[in-house]
């Protein structure tokens, strides 16, 4: 009876696997499991140390309920102002430098030699992380916000130029051509044919980068490049979790405010 029913109903439907080739699927799964085992074997976890730490973890979480803004308010305030100043200055300079580089890195605007140079600059800037650049710049320029400012400007160039260049490359050719046909010079062509098309994206990206720069400026202090990071590091070192919690809360609030603001601005320009 049951076989008869199965013959009528046919085979039950089965979900298609994500990877179609059977051998590849098994090789991937087996490789993954082998890697996981190897990774877990080599990581040393001191569970008793972790268990001891849980008490401190609890204290830290509790510190968020009673953050201490007042006892180190001078240090927090100075660090925050320095972080914000670094963020603003480096965003302005970074954006100003990355616009010509973005034009150079767009194949439909720039000739091949300039294109290669600008793409090279972008690749170098993107491959080096902020913190490593900051270490080198602190070694060269000494401690202080200047090293942080230069680091963030340098990082902004790679990020903004790449995304802006991609936007310029995907712009509408027709409008640019119309401006050219009216006899515009190169600058006029950029100003009236290209710029209006990429402006919304440029503003959006700039706001986004401002947001990232602020977040990054919070860690540059760890290597001596100015900003709130130094204060935060000291707070952790002295186990002053309530002060650390206060700083982290301020960072989170500023980031949320910036994100909200950039959302508003982006919605307006687009």
């Amino acid at each position: 009876m049951s076989t008869e029913l199965e013959a009528i109903l046919g085979k039950p439907w089965k979900k298609q696997p994500f990877i179609q080739r059977r051998w590849l699927r098994w090789v991937l799964v087996a490789g993954f499991v082998a890697y996981l085992i190897a990774a877990f074997m080599t990581i040393e976890i001191n569970w008793s140390r972790v268990y001891e730490g849980l008490e401190r973890g609890k204290q830290f979480v509790l510190a968020f309920t009673s953050p201490d803004f007042s006892s180190r308010s001078g240090d927090i305030w100075d660090g925050m102002i320095e972080s914000i100043i670094m963020t603003v200055a480096s965003s302005v300079v970074g954006i100003a430098i990355s616009i010509p580089i973005a034009l150079g890195a767009a194949r439909n605007v720039a000739p091949l030699p300039i294109y290669m140079i600008c793409r090279g600059i972008i690749a170098v800037s993107r491959a080096l992380q902020e913190i490593i650049v900051a270490i080198l710049l602190v070694a060269i320029f000494g401690f202080g916000p200047l090293a942080g400012f230069l680091t963030l400007s340098f990082a902004t160039i790679g990020f903004l130029s790449k995304l802006l260049a991609e936007d310029i490359e995907s712009m509408d050719r027709v409008q640019a051509e119309a401006i050219k046909a009216s006899g515009a010079k190169w600058m006029q062509w950029i100003n009236y044919g290209v710029q209006p098309q990429v402006m919304p994206r440029l503003i959006g990206l700039s706001m986004y980068r401002l947001d990232i720069n602020f977040r990054e400026s919070a860690i540059l202090g760890l290597v001596g490049a100015g900003g709130i990071g130094a204060t935060l590091n000291t707070a952790f070192d002295r186990y002053e979790y309530d002060t650390a919690a206060a700083i982290l809360l301020i960072i989170i609030i500023i980031v949320m405010a910036l994100e909200y603001l950039s959302g508003l601005i982006r919605a307006r320009v687009q």
């Binding site: 990774a39 730490g53 102002i81 913190i131 202080g144 916000p145 760890l222 989170i252 980031v255």
Partner: protein
């Protein structure tokens, strides 16, 4: 588009008088703010060091070249640790990010007023704090080592993955979900057959993308003591062993380039 008569000729201008005044004021404010910021930075800088910088840079360069190639034999374990921090951190983050993303997406959240704000708060809080700060915190709590790095990377990645994932969930095609619902599927069946297949490509893309970023971040986590190649970097920096520093920087650069290449390849294959 304002057009003005000027000696019986019509002249086109880009902006009206008020618009250009507005722009002018905007620019003036911007320049003033920048000038103030620059002045503050300049006050906090010892300019003697800056003028001396080319000599110092040259000095460091001569010390750092050529890299100490034979030091590479000692870097095997740190590189493996770095890879583990990034990969395990990404896996843990993805496991934790999926429920957060489903709770945060408008169309799948169990409760719009209770659960969704909590999920969004988790996303914002984990995303806005850098992994180095998480590492700093975790080292104070659970002690230095690779494990602290894994957890730091995992926590930091939750917000990022969950944000991208919940945006993908919100953009799904509702008709497919409706079709599954119409067959009488339960809530979990709707998820498994209506929603998951639609977001699976996005999920795989996010996973590889975040893995790439995590490789980058895990190379420097050691600077605060959380294991990996950064540990070697910071100890070399502390003893001013510049030939070792330059070799480590080369290795990090190579790792970043390779991980970016892998991630671009995999994402290209998925999409």
């Amino acid at each position: 588009m304002p057009v003005q008569d000027y000696n019986d000729q019509k002249l086109w201008q880009r902006r009206t008088g008020r618009e250009s005044l507005f722009h002018w004021v905007l620019w003036l404010t911007g320049v003033a703010i920048f000038a103030y910021c620059w002045q503050q930075i300049s006050d906090a800088t010892t300019w003697f060091f800056v003028w001396d910088a080319p000599r110092i840079a040259n000095d460091i360069w001569t010390r750092a070249t050529p890299p100490k190639w034979e030091y590479f034999t000692q870097l095997g374990k740190p590189i493996w640790d770095t890879l583990n921090i990034a990969t395990l951190g990404t896996i843990i983050a993805l496991v934790l990010a999926v429920p957060v993303a489903f709770a945060a997406a408008r169309n799948t959240t169990p409760s719009r007023f209770l659960v969704r704000p909590i999920a969004l708060l988790i996303i914002v809080a984990t995303r806005s704090i850098n992994s180095l700060i998480w590492a700093l915190l975790l080292i104070a709590i659970i002690g230095p080592g690779v494990f602290a790095g894994v957890v730091a990377i995992a926590i930091r990645s939750i917000g990022f993955c969950a944000k991208l994932l919940y945006e993908a969930i919100e953009e799904i095609d509702e008709t497919q979900v409706e079709a599954i619902t119409a067959t009488g599927a339960s809530r979990w069946q709707i998820m498994a057959y209506g929603i998951v297949p639609q977001i699976l490509p996005a999920f795989a893309g996010i996973a590889v993308f975040r893995w790439d970023i995590n490789i980058r971040e895990s190379t420097v986590l050691g600077l605060v003591g959380a294991g990996g190649i950064g540990l070697q970097l910071s100890s070399s920096l502390n003893v001013l062993a510049w030939p070792q520093v330059s070799l480590i920087l080369l290795v990090i650069l190579l790792a970043v380039v390779i991980s970016e290449w892998v991630s671009a390849k995999v994402r290209g294959a998925i999409i």
